[in-house]
Subunit: 191 residues, 2 copies
DNA sequence: GTCATGAGATTATCAACATCATCCTATAGA
DNA sequence: TCTATAGGATGATGTTGATAATCTCATGAC
């Protein structure tokens, strides 16, 4: 059946958005083609009209996820004075809401080890997304010189990512909050 | 065929050890029963003579991995004066060797997001292993009071874990080393 | 109004996997 | 030396998932 001209692009976007959530929520292998398509209200058959392979979908979804994350962080940062922007980012990232909703959060926190196991070509493309993400975050980072900001970014992201990763393994809400709070307090008094 | 009395226990241990490597190297789903058994020189058929389910193997393997990690860290720590033990741990964890060999390294760095997606019962058991691991590490942590040590543990592990997780995604050796070094320098001057 | 088009549905194929029933046989214990 | 036993092999089953060929029919272009 022929659809409205913009229809394909719309559906494509919807698939990517749904896949970006499912990917973060259930992992690289958890996001099966048929499930992703069902999310979008379609059957699995049409999948290859939209993507050359599942890897292609994964990559587009990662791009989408990084974009969403950067938007989220930027929104948090732009609410305050430039000097404290990084603090807002830290608080947002280390919030219980982010911790409890991997499917809408940081793709690294949700997928890093699985991404680490992908092949060279995939990693190279992930690097591009990561770089884009970093360059959007750098302006908010503490420090004078660009190298300072860069180092701050690396360290802050590492600590936040690690804290969320650990917290998410814990079955108890209070224990999760404790880990997040420790990391937050530590970071806030470190720069 | 009947084997020597200790034979079953030996084979069991071997399966667990091999699985612990494969698990960290290839992820929860990557470690297929048949592969794990082949590692141990057996076929997949006998698996259920040793384990009630795959989850049981996963859990035993995690236990093994945490034990190995704690041994590794303790060895590094015991080589130096008690005040600097935690520094030795940081250096060992953030070494390129650890980063490049997930299969023999920290199970959290290799698996955290996947573990976060397991069910309540599995998480409860993981928590027990984590707690045991923490109690072995606490004596080496910086700080006077136990709460200080506890907080230091949380923060140090978070930062190290996050740094290794990020580094492992990067395709370039030098970039990986830079991330590890940033995290190391940051931690070493933070306590 | 017609009809060619192409997005999506249906269905098939092939591979990987967990799980399990059944069979085989070397050895421990007598 | 004999034999019951249990560790391991073989092979089957059912499931899930990626990929792809083929069919269908609503709609835009005429």
């Amino acid at each position: 059946m022929r659809y409205r001209p913009q229809h394909k692009a719309e559906i494509h976007q919807k698939i990517v958005k749904d896949a970006a959530r499912r990917l973060r929520g259930e992992g690289l292998t958890g996001a099966a083609v048929s499930e992703v398509m069902r999310d979008a209200g379609l059957t699995h058959g049409g999948f290859y009209k939209h993507f050359g392979s599942k890897d292609e979908l994964v990559l587009e979804s990662l791009r989408q996820a990084f974009r969403e994350l950067a938007d989220f962080m930027a929104r948090a940062a732009e609410k305050c004075r430039p000097e404290t922007a990084w603090k807002a980012i830290v608080k947002a990232y280390l919030s219980p809401e982010h911790c409890d909703h991997a499917e809408g959060g940081c793709p690294l926190a949700a997928l890093a080890p699985e991404l680490a196991r992908t092949d060279k070509t995939m990693k190279a493309q992930i690097l591009r997304e990561l770089t884009r993400y970093k360059s959007r975050m750098l302006p908010f980072m503490p420090g004078r010189r660009p190298t300072d900001k860069e180092r701050a970014f690396t360290v802050i992201i590492s600590t936040m990512l690690g804290a969320v990763a650990i917290a998410r393994v814990l079955p108890d809400r209070a224990a999760r909050a404790r880990v997040l709070a420790s990391a937050r307090d530590f970071l806030l008094r470190s720069f």
